[in-house]
């Protein structure tokens, strides 16, 4: 603790007080306005997207069982909830939820990063040990994943940039996409970014939500590594399958 044992000749300038902050009164407002709460928003939105990714990865494996099963699965996705829901409504309910999670995650990350960078205005002349690769690529890795999502939707949802782009034939579109070199490069880079992002992000989310604790740190780190590995391998198996001719 800085002890009052010295009398500085010139009082150090206190941080600019600024206008008195009005404390948000609602729980949501309080969360969004604190670094700890905003991080919790990132954790929850990240976990929502992670749940989607797990389902997505498992669904992708259908590609190994031929066009009928893959296309049938894609059709079935649109029938979930019938007859209570109209055809395709399930997907249209899921999309705004995912979009909201993505926007909340990105906005919180941007605002927190701005704050983090401002907290160290003068850097060290001697740079210390760097954090792990997964840790210090979180920000740019996130940007890469965000850009990939746009590409991926244009490629396999709308079919705009897909060489085939035939609605209702996801199997043929996937094969067409992964028969181009750029399709493979973009996808593989993005999936490696997802793996690294999850590796750091999942353990961080656990800690942010208070689940980590004495003796549980290691378990969460292992879980994060395992999850990252399984998802990355699962996703990468599809382009590898096309490239090796296992899927055609």
């Amino acid at each position: 603790m800085a002890l009052a044992t010295r009398t500085p000749t010139k009082a150090p300038t206190p941080p600019a007080p600024g206008p008195p902050r009005r404390r948000p009164t609602t729980a949501a407002g309080r969360l969004w306005h604190s670094t700890v709460g905003k991080k919790a928003v990132m954790a929850v939105s990240g976990l929502i997207m992670l749940l989607y990714l797990v389902a997505h990865m498992i669904g992708n494996l259908k590609v190994f069982f031929g066009p009928d099963e893959m296309n049938g699965y894609a059709h079935w996705l649109r029938t979930i909830g019938e007859p209570a829901l109209h055809h395709g409504w399930f997907l249209w309910i899921m999309r705004p939820v995912l979009l909201l999670a993505l926007v909340a995650h990105a906005v919180a990350a941007y605002q927190l990063s701005r704050r983090d960078l401002a907290a160290r205005p003068v850097g060290y002349a001697h740079r210390g040990r760097r954090s792990s690769y997964a840790t210090h690529t979180m920000r740019w890795g996130g940007v890469i994943i965000g850009l990939f999502v746009i590409w991926h939707i244009l490629d396999l949802t709308t079919g705009t940039v897909n060489p085939r782009g035939q609605a209702g034939h996801p199997y043929e579109n996937i094969v067409a996409s992964f028969q181009t070199w750029y399709g493979n490069v973009i996808y593989i880079v993005a999936m490696l970014a997802v793996g690294l992002h999850l590796r750091h992000g999942f353990a961080g989310a656990a800690r942010t939500l208070g689940a980590g604790g004495r003796g549980r740190e290691r378990a969460w780190t292992l879980a994060a590594n395992g999850l990252a590995l399984i998802l990355t391998c699962g996703f990468l198996s599809v382009p590898v399958g096309v490239m090796t001719g296992l899927v055609d």
Binding site: L3, T13, A40, D116, A118, R120, R129, T135, H200, G210
Partner: protein, 248 residues
Amino acid sequence: MNLTLRIWRQRGPEEPGAMTTYEVADVSPDMSFLEMLDTLNEELILRGEEPVAFDHDCREGICGACGVVINGEAHGPERTTTCQLHMRHFRDGDTIDVEPWRSAAFPVVKDLVVDRSAFDRVIGSGGYITAPTGSAPEAHATPVPKAAADTAFENAECIGCGACVAACPNGSAMLFTAAKVVHLNSLPQGGPERERRVLDMVDAMDAEGFGGCTHTGVCTTVCPKGIPLASIATLNREYLRATRKGAA
């Protein structure tokens, strides 16, 4: 031992600073890092130059007053305070970079001295218990479970040196705030202000301009008192719990 030191010299808070090179001869490996700086300062005084300003007090590793970044690491290569770091951990002929803690919340006062009163304000916002002061209470009046006592003690070891902030790439004070919150919130004596404390201390931490936590974990690796990363998880848990309970 003969050493080359590159030390950050800055005449005052508003003055520009620069790394300045000094040669120190005949350093004993048994000297502490601060004694080595004392030797340099004696020489500088004899030469009629301004001695290097650095904070220090107990020189026993228990007060938290000393602390500089040595070769890019807070408190240097060993996990201890700067006063307890001995020159035997360096080699003859080494060049050693010495810099002050770098954080927007810790403005440089002079040379290696920074103003850490931001920590005092975080403590003032909730790092206390409401209890009548005076004679010491009877030790067994309030039973404390062993596990709670251990957790509280482990976190109470924090000496507020600021190494966590100095090492964190975001200049975050999460580990410091976590240590204080976990220490008092683990004990029955801290119960009455349990929610109020965590909300106010996180608010105060944010208001001082510290960055947020991105779970790099470097704070715990430099902490001379070994405050665990799990304390940050507990702080987050306490914060979310207090928000849920709606303590306004």
